[in-house]
Structure formats: C-alpha cells, structure tokens
C-alpha cells in the first residue's frame, strides 16, 4: 500500500520586480501551477512613472528546498529583474488591506463599532443595519478582526493580499 508523504513547510514572502509586459503575470502564476508550488496571495501593480516595471508580492508556503527552487525558477524568467525572499532577507514589514462588511442591529452593532475602533478599522460605508470597515495591517491582525466579526454579523470579506518591504534604509 502506498501513501502520499508530506514534508514540513514554511511560509515565505517574496517580492519580484518584473518588466511590465503582456503575459508576465500568467508566466509567474503558471510557473507555480506547473511546478506544483503554492500561492497564498499575490499582489501586483506597476511602480515606475513610465509603467515599465511592476512589483509582485507573493506569499507562498512549502518545504525549504522548494522555497529555494521557487526563488531560482523565478529568476530564470527573462522578464524578471530581481527576486527577494523577504523572509530570508531580514526583518520586513508586511501589510494588507481588507474591506469587511458586518450587518446587525442593537448591541452587536455597537460592539462591532467598538471593536473596530480598537483595531483602528475605519468605517467607509454605513447603513442603519451595516458597516463596511477598512482595515490595514499584518495578515494575522486582519485574521483576528475577521474572526471577531464573524460572531457579530460578518457578511463579506475582501482582502488585497500582502505587500512587503524590508526594514531599514537600504533597498532590498
């Protein structure tokens, strides 16, 4: 009898700067599927004035040897300028933005607003029976907030995925 074995996995945040050309996102996303790597989140936007270069932040998990391969395989793509494994490179900041819709009346509604204040979540839309909160932070902060809101009438969650940057004066 044969069973599939699993290895211990790590979570890594990678930033990838690329030529902003047609198909590059498909190349990167497809590389992950083709080689059986995981994508937990992926964000992309162009970061130069002439829109020539984009920065992609990928959160992935896998065994350390696989993380190293992901790094090498990404660098192999011609339009990729640079890959930085923030998790390896040193202390780094990671933030994501979430929109969280909560509906409820009476005590629950008041409690939701009070907790939002504790988390510094900003109500960006409101009706007599609902709020949409905007919350920025590290993923676990958003996880916690969403978990609490689940008890108070959570309707819908939208998250951007992580954007990360190395701490200190230097460019990574």
């Amino acid at each position: 009898m044969m069973h599939i074995k699993h290895e211990a996995e790590e979570r890594h945040v990678l930033t990838v700067t690329v030529d902003n050309e047609a198909g590059i996102l498909a190349k990167i996303a497809g590389l992950f599927t083709a080689r059986g790597y995981n994508i937990d989140s992926l964000t992309v936007a162009d970061i130069t004035e002439n829109h020539a270069v984009s920065r992609i932040t990928i959160v992935t998990h896998g065994p350390p040897s696989q993380i190293d391969q992901i790094h090498a395989q990404l660098e192999r793509l011609v339009p990729v300028h640079k890959v930085v494994d923030l998790t390896e490179a040193g202390p780094f900041v990671q933030r994501e933005l979430a929109l969280i819709k909560v509906a409820g009346m009476g005590e629950k509604r008041v409690e939701a607003l009070r907790i939002a204040d504790v988390f510094r979540a900003k109500p960006v839309d409101t009706s007599t029976s609902s709020f949409i909160f905007e919350l920025t932070g590290a993923p676990d902060k958003i996880d916690t907030f969403v978990a609490i809101m689940r008890e108070l009438g959570l309707v819908e969650v939208g998250r951007t995925g992580v954007v990360g940057m190395i701490r200190g004066a230097e460019e990574a």
Partner: protein, 602 residues
C-alpha cells in the same frame, strides 16, 4: 516611387505597385522578419506553410540567403531544427502557421526545452483583431508554449520585430540554451514599419552569469586535489558550452586522473576509448559507472542535472560523497540532490578557471580507487548472451559501430530500447555526434533530427538508430529527405514490440503485455521504396555486416530493417525506485512485480 538604381539584394524590396526593385525605408513585418533572420546568419528554416504565415512565405520566395526546408509535419520541423542545432552548435529555426501548425510543433519545442537546445520558433497567428475570438486556426500559442519555452513573445507591431528577433536569438543561444517562440499575427506580417540596417538596441535585460566566483573555484580545486576517490560526472552542458568545454574537460581529467562518466546527453564529450572512461551512468548505465558514483568521495558534476534517470533512489544516491555542481542555470542547483559546492557559470569558463587555479599541482595517487573500479569493470555489465537463432540487438549496434566508426558518423535515435543499446554499444569520441531525446523522451525524434543534422553536415554519414514503433511516429519525414536528396540512413532494430514498454511490463507487471505489441507493422523495405529510398532487410546474423556495408555504399537514403531478437531486454538496469548498487545485469533473476512505491515512479 523611389530611385531606379542598382542596389545590393539585401536592400531590395518588391514594391507592390510597380513590381520593381525600389529602395524603401519602410518594410512589411514579414520582410523585416526575413531580413532579421538573414542578419542572424540563418542558413535553414524548417517549416510548413499555412494561412497565417503566407506573408512570411511570400517574403521567403526567391530568397537566396535562407533555404526553407519543407517538412511533412510540424513536429518534424521542430525536431529537424533540434538535430541541426545539436550537430552544428548553431540555433535551429522553425516556421509554422497558427493553430494546428503551432500545436504540432509544441512537442519538439518541449523537447528542446528539456534538452537545452537553442531554437527560434516563428509561429503565425490570426490577425490581432481576431485574437480571442476563436477564429479559424486560432490557438493561444503564447499561452500553450509558456512553460515549454525559455521565453516567448506575441509581437503586436512590426516596428518591434527586429529587436524581438535579435533578443530571441540572444536568449536562445546564451546562458542555458533553449527554445524561444515568436508569435506574429498575420496583420503584423503585412503592416509596414521603419527598417534600419543597423543592429537594434538591445534591452540588456538578459545577462546570465558565465564566470565562476573565485572563492568557489579555489574551493573546488581544494576539494578535487584532496579527493581520494573522485569522479567526473558530465552532461549535456559540456556539449552545449561548445568544443572548448570538451577540450578543457579532457585536460582536467588528464591533470587530476579522475575517472569520467557521462549522462545520455553528454556522450561524446569524453572519448569512449580512454582508459578512464566508465561509460554512461544511470538507469541503463554501466555497473562501473554507477558503482563508482555510489562509492566516490567526490562527485564533480559538470553541466549535468542529477536527473531521476541518473540518480535512482535519491536517499541512496552517492551517500558518502561530497558534490561540486558546475551549472549555468542556478535553478538546477539543489533541485533534486543537495550539493556541497555550487559553481554557477558556463562549463568552459569554469573549467578554464579551475585549470588555471590548479596550475601544476600534483594529482592524488588514485591507484587504489582505480583498482576498485577495475573490479567493477570485471562484471562486464554490457555483455549479453549469444543467440543462434536471432540477431541480438546489442550485436547489431556493435557491428554498426565497428563498420561505420572510421567515418565518424552522427547518430540520432528515437526513444526506447534501441536508444539505450545505441548509447551503450555505439561509442563516441567527439561532441555533437550524438543526437537523442533525453529529457522529454520523444519517440519520433530521430528521423527528423537526422534530416536536420544531414543538412548542417552535408558530408557526414548520419544514421538514425530506430525502433519499429518509434520510427512510425514521424515516418512522413521520409519524403523530406527524398525531396532534398539527403542520404540519411535509418537503422531499425525491429523486434516487433514497443520494446521498453514490453520490458517494463515483463519486470513489473508479471508479463501482462498490455498494448505493447507492434501489430500490423508495414513492410519497411517496400515503404522505403515507395518514398524513393533504398530498403534493405537483414534477417540473419550472417547478413548483418553485408547489410550494413550495403547501407553505407548506397549514395542515397536507406532504411535498414534489421530483424532482431524479439524478447531481448536492455540491461544493465537500475529498476525503478532502486539504488545504484541494486543493478540488474543480464542473467540475474528478475521478479515479475514491484511494490506500489516503485510502480509510482516514472
């Protein structure tokens, strides 16, 4: 329009209005493409026309600098370009139409990707405005080829074409070589753009590291100099790096005295008659090569990639050895086997750096190590039983080698038992003589590859060693050889089976021969004659030498249908999921089944 003056051909364009040669600063996309290919020194384009490439075919009409080779199927075009590239060291160029043209070529592109063969593939595409509309003969070529090309492009403006072609050739041929695809919509082929004869501005975004870091080189030299049981494990990277890498490898071996083994792709980099040559390693490698890998204290991997066919069971692979891995592709390092010292760079440059750093050091005394290797050699792992009734396929290859070796032939193969027998029993002494599909394992590779090689090497004897099943996968290319009067030879080891499938079924599925019998085989002699080739059948051992001689004596293309023993197996063999030390040799008792863990491996 334009001045009517005599101008050199490369400046001429046919004016659609006046049908005369005029000087023009604007050219069609198709014309820019052809001009750019000519500037790259392209001699041959392997292709097949169709609706979406008609403008390019029109631009090729009457073109004297580039010779178009019309294949019979687009798969043949890609493999022929591979054969040309592998045997000449120059990039192969393919031109096919959209949709089925592109998808048919895809197997050859994937093959070139895995074996690191430089190709530039031009595909036609439906007009820009129709892309995404499920138009006639539309396929998402860029999407389909994304993960089997080194890079690909969809060109939307003829003004970009010259720069794209220039970069495509750079990417295909430098760093770790590979296929690059350029998809050109039909309207982009027709539309006009400014053309300049000066080379396009390069974007300088692709600059692979070719030089090893000096501390890595020093460390490598230390490790090699102190090893008591070193082995050089070389691969296709040595061939890809060019003839200089081959010469430097031989020099390094001379200075260090280390024995040499090679992967399937690397055969020819080291001469097979050298006393320190161990033969090929891996699943069907020699006993001495695999045992030496297993027992070595240092493996110097030069341009190879620890493929699963080479390592066998990973947790038992060379357990006591340090490993140096020289590779131009950083993603090959630590992919399957963790190494102690990676050296990222081009094989030739790194070998040269190592030799410089080695200077006049004295090599270790390796007498003890070589003595152990000699005991492994004594197992004579390539021996096979004689057979009075049928030609043993190994013998057929041995005779083919003996009778053709003076001509220094180029050998291509299909995929299967015959391929492994050719690798084991045909011997190579120089690079670019051995063309085989190693990574993808593509049946149908050998005949078109031989055609490409013959075009690139018109005075060389080119032989496709084939099997009865494989040869049928691109049999239509017989017509291509006929058309271009190419004297390629096909030597079929005909055992009436998909031999390697049959062998695995015998060893792992208790001889349940599910669909591996080659039923309804054609009469290969008549088939040869139908295509204007010569057909020769060898049915008995007594006819073997004369048949091979007749094949060589005939000035045109020949199919030799060599009827061999139907049930011969390819040994030695490391069974799926086994270690190097668990090789099966001829005469060993082989169990008829395997556990599920072994069956699950490829």
């Amino acid at each position: 329009m334009g001045a009517r003056i005599r101008i050199p051909p490369q400046w001429r364009v046919r004016s659609r209005v006046e049908k005369e040669w005029v000087v023009s600063e604007e050219r069609s996309g198709a014309n820019i493409l052809v001009e750019s290919l000519a500037k790259q020194g392209v001699e041959f384009v392997f292709g097949y026309p169709g609706g979406a490439v008609l403008p390019i075919y029109d631009a090729l009409f009457g073109e004297e600098r580039i010779r178009h080779i019309l294949v019979r199927h687009e798969a043949g075009a890609a493999h022929a370009a591979e054969g040309y590239a592998r045997s000449t060291g120059k990039p192969g160029v393919v031109l096919v139409t959209s949709g089925p043209g592109a998808t048919n070529a895809m197997t050859g592109i994937a093959d070139a990707f895995l074996d690191s063969i430089p190709l530039v593939v031009i595909t036609g595409q439906v007009p820009t405005a129709l892309i995404g509309s499920d138009a006639f003969q539309e396929a998402d070529t860029v999407g389909i080829s994304r993960h089997c090309t080194k890079h690909n492009y969809l060109v939307k403006d003829p003004a970009d074409l010259a720069a794209v072609v220039d970069e495509a050739f750079q990417i295909a041929t430098t760093g770790r070589p590979g296929p690059v695809l350029i998809d050109i919509p039909k309207d982009v082929q027709i539309a006009m753009a400014a053309w300049s004869d000066s080379p396009p501005q390069r974007r300088q975004r692709y600059a692979p590291r070719t030089q090893g870091a000096s501390e890595e080189i020093e460390q490598a030299v230390e490790m090699i100099a102190s090893a008591r049981a070193p082995i050089l494990y070389t691969g296709g990277g040595v061939i890809n790096s060019g003839p200089k890498a081959t010469a430097l490898l031989r020099e390094l071996q001379k200075r260090t005295g280390a024995p040499v083994t090679s992967t399937l792709m690397g055969l020819g980099a080291f001469p097979a008659d050298h006393p320190d040559w161990l033969g090929m390693l891996g699943m069907h490698g020699t006993y001495e090569a695999n045992m030496a890998m297993n027992q070595s204290d240092l493996i110097v991997c030069v341009g190879a990639r620890f493929d699963d066919r080479v390592t066998g069971r990973l947790d038992a692979f060379a357990p006591n050895s340090k490993k140096i891995h020289i590779d131009i592709d950083r993603s090959s390092i630590n992919k399957t086997v963790p190494v102690d010292l990676p050296v990222i760079g081009d094989c030739a440059q790194v070998l040269e750096q190592i030799l410089d750093a080695w200077g006049d050091r004295k090599a270790q005394d390796l007498t003890g190590w070589k003595g152990r290797i000699d005991t492994w050699r004594e197992r004579k792992s390539l021996s096979f039983p004689a057979n009075a009734d049928a030609i043993m396929p190994q013998l057929a290859i041995q005779r083919l080698f003996e009778l053709t070796k003076d001509k220094d032939p180029i050998i291509s193969t299909e995929v299967g038992q015959h391929q492994m027998w050719a690798a084991q029993h045909f011997h190579f002494f120089s690079p670019n003589k051995w063309l085989t599909s190693g990574g993808l394992g593509t049946m149908g590779y050998g005949l078109p590859a031989a055609i490409g090689a013959q075009l690139g090497n018109p005075d060389t004897l080119v032989i496709d060693v084939a099997g009865d099943a494989s040869i049928q996968m691109n049999i239509q290319e017989l017509g291509t050889a006929t058309q271009y009067r190419l004297p390629v030879k096909i030597f079929i080891l005909n055992n009436e089976w998909m031999g390697m499938v049959r062998q695995w079924q015998e060893l792992t599925y208790e001889s349940r021969y599910s669909n591996s019998y080659s039923d309804s085989l054609p009469d290969f002699v008549k088939l040869a004659e139908a295509y204007g080739w010569k057909g020769i059948r060898i049915a008995n051992e007594s006819e073997l030498d004369a048949g091979i001689q007749a094949m060589m004596d005939y000035p045109g293309p020949v199919i030799v249908d060599c009827c061999v023993h139907n049930e011969a197996n390819c040994f030695p063999m490391i069974p799926s999921g086994a270690a190097h030390t668990e090789m099966i040799l001829y005469g060993d008792t082989v169990a008829g089944t395997m556990d599920d863990e072994a069956k699950a491996l490829v």
